[in-house]
Amino acid sequence: MRNSVEEEIYRQSKCKIQDYESIVGRSYIEELRMLGERLSEKVIQTINSTYVGGGVAEILAHLVPLCNQLGVDVRWNVIQGSDDFFEVTKKFHNALHGKDEKISPEEFSLFLEINQRNLNELGFCGDIFFVHDPQPVALITKRNEIGGKWVWRCHIDVSNPNQEVWNFLRGFVLDYDAIAFSSPSFAQQLPVNQFLISPAIDPLSDKNKELPSETIDSVLVKYGLSQDKPMVVQISRFDYLKDPVGVIDAFERVKKNIDCQLVLAGGTASDDPESERVLSEVRERAAGNPDIHILLIPPGSDIEINALQRAATVIMQKSLKEGFGLTVSEALWKRKPVIASAVGGIPLQIKHRFTGLLCYGIDGAVYGLRQLLTNHEYANWLGENGRQHVKQNFLITRQLRDYLLTFLSLDCPGDVVYL
């Protein structure tokens, strides 16, 4: 039985599985249906901490209806927790990212207590339990009573985690049948099957769908951008880790020989007091250069982001650290040549010199920018390859297929499985 929030999400989910046929081909969708048929007898219960807000909820809001359309009975539940509980899990999140967080024994107890309360209150009805991120990870403690197969989907970069928190979570993680990570670098040496399931973009969403040229032009006019100069664009929130100042440095070195403009577009996060400071530093650094445009884009402006990416000549993602960096896939999907740092999940999306250019610092970024702004044929070739690469590997249909295969593989050990 769905609750009202879930019903609303289902209602808002406009995409039908057949809508993707024109993009990935009919046979691909047929294969998804075949996988769905093989799971039609199973009930899959997916559990996370929220229906709305955040990347996980956004992914599930797309994937759950698509799974249901394929005949797979996926039910979505969220755990309930107090503000204190979510403060603790936020600390866990930061600690897993490598931040030095101090977690008190009371906070660990609170985490366990809330998980225990949810164990009593949440109705467990699945054959497979698909648990997302650390918040509900301790639900596994009663797997012997509940039964079924358990999969933990970790959306967080745990390549260099705080050991205290990781060791605490590890005790629960080891009881799962499988774990899914977003990047190979997140994998740990564990006696549990670990699968690589990269995040993906939805080609039919406002952020990625095709746009008429009038819409793109109107966004350029709105932000006072020239349509005659080549445009270098970086889309990301204002964060030191996205290195916006480094992008300006690289741009100014290129600008000496090539007439072009730079657009740094993004938002500030309300839960990140640092972002306002970064924004003001970036504005100060760009002051006096009319070809550098710092655009503060309000949340939900997906069409505008889409238009800026489509209007770009070259797209950059010069992050110092990155989770997966799906903005790279968004740019590649739009056939744009991309220069991005070789961090996080970016090397999965960019095979250097084949689907884009990787860089390790400002020098590499300058070299790449010069190449792409002057050699249009090469830039177009990279852009076209990038589009094909995303089509094959980073669309939501591939992600959906990976999840279905993961569920199917739970009962089938071995390197080769015949279904």
Binding site: S27, S185, L190, F195, Q388, H389, L405, S409, D415
Partner: protein
């Protein structure tokens, strides 16, 4: 008695003229029938029309009846009967003539339909329907003429009939085009049962039946699809004709999907790379030497294996990178042999240059294992034409399975397609041509196109 004789003597002319007129018509009828049927026989001999006997059988007797009726009509007309009697008798003669004509038309049409029905390659339903419509039309027209002869008002009946036809036309507006097009499709012999057809909309399959409304095809996935004949007429239709040589065993296409399983193992330098490489299972080597084919299937020439790329890009060692890249996967029948070759090349290099370099932070080599999930698709090929059609439809994962996976799975240095074409179709030349293709120098899409081209040229 005497009065009768006297009356006959007085009026013999008034009797003789009608009698003579009647007899003259009868004689003329007999003579005309002989002349006309002889002429008809001569024409039939020339024309060799097989329906001639039916025409003769059906019309020979009525032909004489018509002259008898004509004679009677003229006799009555020239007789001394009162005008009112003449009119009634004349209408009766005309009515009998119309009834006879109707009988001949209906009878002849039925016999001709029976004669030609088995010879027409048209669907039976529309043919009999046409015969029924013709019969009803003859009867309706005949009744209208009869009513007109007897002075009954026919306009309201015609109006009712016209309205009925209009309503029927509206109700059957979708059926009528299908009916005519079905007949046209069949009579035109554009398609026949057993033909393999492809519609502009993409549907393709063997024609299993043609009715007056629909044409049914069996698709390559084994589904039955009903196509309205009106759709057939509106779309581009390619008819490939009858099935060609059928395989002794049909080829059922499978597909291979894979999950990337993380081992948690990683290498920071060449020593760690080669040490770990020796320990990992073949499925890890398989992944790092083959995943490019699917993930970067659009690139040609395809990038080298992961080991070569990592050594060049992360360690900056272009010399060893080149040596690893030059290892031709096509040369190895087993992953074990390929793995040994990779290890040998790295170890030979390390013997001369033990340092080998260190990857930057975040640039480590992560060992990933491929977990293959193989499942059958609904696509089946029973001959080469179906094979070519299926090849155009299946996913690149399916092509990958039958070409790349098969080489290593079967360890025969060939692929599933060549084996099926040789073993089940006996087309060794084509099988060899496909087997000789080096799949590693094509993108999966260009490989698909090349195989389809070879097969279509062969057909």
């Amino acid at each position: 008695m005497t009065q009768w004789i006297r009356w006959l003597i007085d009026n013999w002319l008034q009797i003789a003229i009608p009698t003579l007129a009647f007899l003259a018509c009868y004689v003329v009828g007999l003579w005309l029938r002989r002349v006309a049927y002889r002429a008809f026989d001569r024409w039939v001999v020339k024309a060799r029309w097989e329906g001639s006997q039916l025409v003769v059988q059906t019309t020979r007797r009525p032909f004489l009846h018509w002259f008898i009726l004509l004679g009677a009509y003229i006799a009555i007309h020239v007789s001394v009967l009162p005008a009112e009697g003449k009119t009634i008798a004349g209408r009766a003669m005309a009515s009998l003539f119309i009834l006879s004509l109707m009988w001949v038309a209906v009878s002849l049409s039925e016999k001709l339909v029976k004669l030609y029905l088995p010879k027409l390659k048209a669907p039976q339903t529309p043919t009999t329907l046409v015969a029924n419509i013709a019969r009803v039309t003859v009867i309706v027209v005949g009744v209208l003429i009869l009513l007109d002869i007897w002075g009954a008002p026919t306009t309201p009946i015609i109006l009712v009939l016209a309205a009925g036809l209009f309503i029927a036309g509206l109700a059957l507006r979708d059926v009528i085009p299908n009916f005519f097009l079905g007949t046209q499709v069949a009579l035109g012999e554009q398609i026949k049962v057993g033909d393999f057809i492809r519609l502009g909309s993409g549907e393709a399959g063997h024609v299993t039946s043609i009715t007056w409304r629909n044409t049914q095809i069996k698709t390559l996935e084994g589904n039955s699809v009903l196509i309205p004949n009106s759709t057939l007429a509106r779309t581009t239709l390619t008819n490939y004709g009858h099935p060609i040589k059928e395989a002794t065993t049909p080829l059922r296409f499978s597909t291979r999907l894979h999950l990337k399983e993380l081992t948690g193992l990683k290498a920071h330098n060449l020593h760690e790379l080669v040490d770990t490489l020796k320990q990992v299972p073949d499925s890890v080597v398989y992944y790092h030497t083959h995943h490019f084919l699917e993930e970067h299937h659009y690139l040609t020439p395809e990038p080298a294996n992961d080991f070569a790329l990592w050594v060049s890009d992360a360690l900056g060692n272009d010399v060893l990178g080149e040596r690893l890249a030059s290892i031709d996967t096509f040369d190895f029948a087993t992953i074990g042999a390929l793995k040994k070759r990779l290890v040998d090349v790295i170890e030979n290099y390390l013997e001369k240059s033990p340092a080998g370099g260190e990857a930057p932070e975040g640039g480590e080599f992560h060992f990933i294992r491929s977990k293959s999930i193989i499942l059958p698709t609904p696509y089946v090929a029973r001959d080469l034409r179906e094979f070519a059609e299926v090849m155009k439809k299946i996913t690149i994962d399916s092509i990958y399975f039958h070409i790349f996976d098969a080489r290593l799975r079967l360890q025969k240095g060939t692929n599933d397609f060549s084996i099926w074409i040789d073993d089940c179709l006996g087309e060794q030349e084509l099988a060899d041509e496909i087997a000789r293709l080096d799949p590693y120098v094509y993108t999966l899409e260009s490989l698909r196109a090349k195989i389809v081209q070879l097969v279509e040229e062969h057909i």
